[in-house]
């Protein structure tokens, strides 16, 4: 592990890498502050830049910086104008905004910065410790296990989706896999499929075009459709940022919350499908429940604990979600799925072999996390008041620019207008799916895993040790994974059914009582 850390240090501590992390953090925090534009959109827009850098470890370090910056920027706009840039910072606004309204905007930002830093750093330490052993276990996997683990990842994404609506997420995963099967992707698809003789489709849909179409373009479309989007219940004014200090007493109150939430957040983040949003909401609810009575009443009115908990948990969870991505090559969240797109676009094959084949990338990303957190704390924090002023970019300029950046990004892939048409069509389809409340992240997860699942299915099926699908029961680990997947898929459905039955029973008994 020491050797790996040193490799990572040497990758992350070059002038180029440091400059790019700083730049990435700044761009990330700035764009992340814009309501509606979160880490997924920022990273999507930055991938073409990352691909142009060429050196995968430096490019990934920069994108990691963009990621932390965007998460941090979302917290800032939650606190200052009650406009969470992304779902994962919604819980931050519960107590952060009331605190700012009381005139403690500076203090709220400090608490957020410290909590984020602590959550991110503890997460990074846990990731450092967990990564190598997990990757070693993953190296024992053969194709059947990979296939099964990917299925577990996909079903987990579905199971943690909207309650009782897992089937919608499943449908979206399948939709993503269907999109991935267009063109010649897998080594077993030895000729282009579903192109209908249309040459530009032969290479399939480019993953960069896909994520622009799934995340950046629809966000701009929603900003067009709903001019009030992003203007939440706040009074619309940016709060005066004054005294940014916190007292020793306050620091003492924060410490145990940070301790609990960084570990809890990390563990939630490791689970595929449950990312920063769930961690922050759970962290908030948990701290509220265990707080002593007089402290509990402060929640929602500017509680110190209520702000510390979600900020710590969402950053720890963001770090935790790198565990399945780095060790198994399986994205547990929309954001890590997009980072995987970047990795693949840079010509790196993600998976358990990554740690041995490309230690500079593997450890570089991990080291950049420590570094990114420090950069955010010392560089961004004093700059916040100035960056916040830039928040006032009017939507009449913002929207055309988001669309322009998305189109340039997709155009740079192959300089072919087909990429742009594909992106526009995907954008329209995604907008309609979002209107109907279908989750979007499962599409990109299905898309990324689709081809790799096909490769592993192919290897398992052609392996002379098994006949047909016999690997399912011939390899116990595969069977266990598949059973876990089935349980995760069926449990929410059964749970939903039981809940409905309970309610019906309750209603019926009420009717008879009346």
């Amino acid at each position: 592990m020491m050797e790996g850390i040193l490799t990572g240090l040497s990758a992350a501590f070059t002038f180029q890498a440091i400059a790019l992390v700083v730049l990435g953090c700044l761009i990330g925090s700035f764009i992340g502050m814009v309501p509606g534009l979160g880490p997924m959109q920022v990273i999507a827009i930055m991938i073409p830049v990352a691909v142009s850098i060429g050196d995968p470890s430096v490019a990934m370090i920069m994108l990691a910086g963009v990621y932390y910056g965007a998460v941090f920027g979302g917290s800032t706009s939650s606190i200052l104008i009650n406009a969470p840039g992304v779902a994962s910072t919604v819980a931050t606004s519960f107590d952060g905004y009331p605190m700012a309204r009381k005139g403690f905007a500076g203090k709220a930002l400090t608490i957020a910065a410290i909590s984020s830093f602590a959550g991110g750093t503890v997460g990074a330490i846990l990731l450092t410790l967990a990564a190598k052993p997990l990757a070693d276990v993953a190296l024992l996997f053969q194709s059947p296990e990979y296939l099964a683990v990917m299925i577990v990842g996909m079903t987990a994404v579905a199971a943690f989706g909207e309650r009782g609506r897992a089937y919608k997420a499943v449908l979206m995963v399948i939709f993503g896999m269907i999109l991935a099967s267009i063109g010649e992707g897998s080594q077993f698809a030895n000729r282009p499929r579903f192109t209908f003789g249309y040459v530009p489709l032969q290479d399939g849909i480019s993953s960069i075009t896909l994520i622009m179409g799934l995340f950046a373009v629809p966000e701009a479309f929603f900003l067009i459709l709903d001019p009030k989007r992003g203007q939440y219940k706040g009074d619309g004014e940016s709060k005066e940022i004054n005294n940014m200090r916190i007292s020793a007493q306050e620091a003492k109150e924060m410490a145990p919350v940070i301790g609990r939430q960084s570990i809890l957040g990390f563990l939630i983040g490791v689970m595929p499908g449950a990312g920063a949003t769930i961690a922050s909401l759970m962290g908030y609810a948990m701290e509220r429940n265990i707080a002593p009575k007089e402290k509990r009443d402060e929640f929602g009115k500017g509680s110190l604990r209520g702000l510390t908990a979600p900020e710590t948990a969402n950053n720890a969870a963001s770090t935790g979600s790198f565990v399945p991505m780095l060790t198994l090559g399986i994205p547990g969240s929309g954001t890590t799925a997009i980072l995987l797109v970047a990795l693949i676009s840079l010509g790196v094959q993600p998976g358990p072999a990554l740690i041995n084949d490309n230690p500079d990338i593997f450890w570089g990303i991990i080291i950049s996390m420590y570094f990114g957190n420090v950069v955010l704390l010392i560089l961004n924090y004093p700059l916040i008041p100035y960056i916040a002023k830039l928040l006032a970019v009017p939507r009449t300029f913002l929207i055309p620019f988001v669309l322009f950046f998305s189109m340039v990004g997709a155009y740079l892939v192959s300089q072919n207008p087909t990429e742009l048409y594909t992106m526009i069509v995907l954008g329209v389809v995604t907008t309609l799916l979002r209107l109907a409340k279908f989750p979007i992240a499962p599409i990109v997860i299905g898309f990324i895993l689709g081809i790799r699942m096909e490769d592993n299915l192919g290897r398992a099926l052609t392996d002379p040790d098994y006949t047909g699908f016999s690997f399912i029961w011939q390899r116990p680990m595969t069977l266990v994974f598949l059973l876990i997947a089935a349980a995760m898929l069926l449990y929410p459905m059964i749970e939903g059914r039981l809940a409905r039955r309970e309610r019906k029973k309750a209603r019926d008994s009420q009717v008879t009582q009346d």
Binding site: I178, I224, D226, T396, P400, L403, L412, L432, L461
Partner: protein, 183 residues
């Protein structure tokens, strides 16, 4: 309460039709496989067939699943507060889309298609100038001087960035002028 026509069901039906078509083409692929590959355990159509059928099942489940409102019972204040705050992040939905700016969206999509089509012929800088200018006009911006300056400077800056920092070539000017310049 249960409604016959819901957003889930409309999307479910559309996806069901698409999955049926996909499944048809997936099974149709077999015709194109050369005889030697016909008996391989893993063929080009193996996964598409599985996906097609899985897609049909998932869309049927989406269509027949009961459409009740949010299932989570709200017991405590914290839950209510969470719910309320989550609602603030929620998208528009099929229920309130009448108020949305559909005209602006359609105009913007049309503008994007025109941009995609004429980006190469029109050159990056002029095409982007018109994209940003008309984009702002569609959204109701009328500060003409600001708009013209922004729309002119931004494509220049991005072009310089793409060319000199990212090291990629995009023809900056219309094809005819580039040809005249002999580039």
């Amino acid at each position: 309460m249960s409604r016959l026509l819901s957003a889930d069901r409309i999307v479910g039906v559309i996806l069901l039709i698409l999955c049926c078509l996909f499944t048809y083409f997936a099974f149709d692929l077999a015709k194109t496989i050369p005889p030697f590959f016909q008996n391989q355990p893993m063929r080009v159509d193996t996964l598409p067939r599985i996906l097609g059928i899985a897609g049909i099942i998932a869309s049927v489940v989406t269509i027949i699943a009961p459409t009740t409102g949010s299932s989570a019972a709200q017991s405590t204040d914290a839950d209510k507060q969470l719910k309320e705050n989550q609602d603030r992040m929620a998208d528009l939905s099929f229920d309130n889309f009448g108020q949305a700016k559909w005209g602006q969206l359609v105009a913007m999509i049309a503008l994007m298609i025109v941009y995609s089509t004429y980006l190469r012929a029109g050159g990056f800088i002029p095409a982007t100038f018109f994209l940003l200018l008309f984009g702002s006009i569609i959204l109701g911006e009328r500060r003409w001087i600001v708009m013209v300056i922004v729309s002119f400077l931004a494509p220049m800056a991005i072009w310089l960035l793409v060319t000199y920092v990212l090291d990629r070539t995009i023809p900056p000017l219309p094809k005819a002028i580039m040809n005249m310049l002999g580039a």
